[in-house]
Symmetry: C2
Subunit: 157 residues, 2 copies
């Protein structure tokens, strides 16, 4: 048996999981943008206001993805038998994520199935959402994540 | 007229664009993982080899997305009238991106259309790919990116 709390068997279709909260700072928005996505609205408050996004200094959409991943890790993924994911089915950047925003997240287990070629592995399809402090849905993501079964994780440990 | 080289009008369906190259270092894989995706295969060479990904120290899939975005920025996006993107239609992490890999990228303009509600804005649908130094396709992404028309960008500048 694995010591991890979450194995493939522990995900139940239709249930939801809390992803906690994340306060987004101007400094981290700018740091991410400088390295990966140096568009003006991700580097400068005034440029953000002037852009069609409006509002102010706005996080790169990829930064929002990365912050979501950190929330997922902290909520349960690092205490799971996760083996990564083959990709992402859909990302929606629905509203700007702005400096000072407090994000909260949740996900719903949409479906699950064992791999046909690797029976020690299962795919868990998750639909995740992030909301800002005004309750606005700013981000949606759907993808399938791979988890070892509890038995397989135990035999590999 | 805008001083930017790339406005909505400059994207032609069916043409491809070179995204240059990117050498992926172990240090940056680990730095990204510590902040956003601290799964063992993204932090440690041996854990990477032991995972179902195999191979060695493997970049977080979100890190690959971020590196792709940087390549896109350097190739043309920072010299364009880009106004962001509403989301991503599909991401495929097809093979692990490993420390020491040299990525090359390209994209094809799949489709384009002017916005119905905002005629100064158009959507350009792009299908992008990254390859490693062995010519293996490691990453695919498809999404629609918003660009101002040349006339609108000039009047806003």
């Amino acid at each position: 048996m694995t010591a991890k709390t979450w194995a493939y068997e522990d995900f139940v279709e239709g249930t939801s999981l809390d992803l906690g909260t994340k306060l987004v700072s101007a400094a981290e928005i700018i740091e991410f943008a400088r390295e990966f996505d140096a568009q003006p609205m991700h580097l400068d408050e005034e440029a953000g206001k002037a852009s069609i996004l409006g509002g102010g200094l706005a996080a790169s959409g990829w930064h929002t993805c990365a912050m979501f991943m950190r929330m997922l890790c902290d909520a349960f993924l690092l205490d799971s038998t996760c083996q990564g994911a083959p990709g992402v089915d859909q990302v929606k950047w629905k509203k700007p994520v702005l400096a000072g925003d407090q994000l909260t997240g949740s996900l719903v287990v949409v479906a699950k199935r064992l791999s046909k070629s690797k029976p020690q592995l299962g795919f868990v399809t998750m639909r995740s959402e992030l909301f800002n402090q005004r309750g606005e849905n700013v981000f949606e993501l759907e993808n399938s994540v791979m988890f070892l079964t509890r038995e397989a994780a135990g035999s590999l440990a």
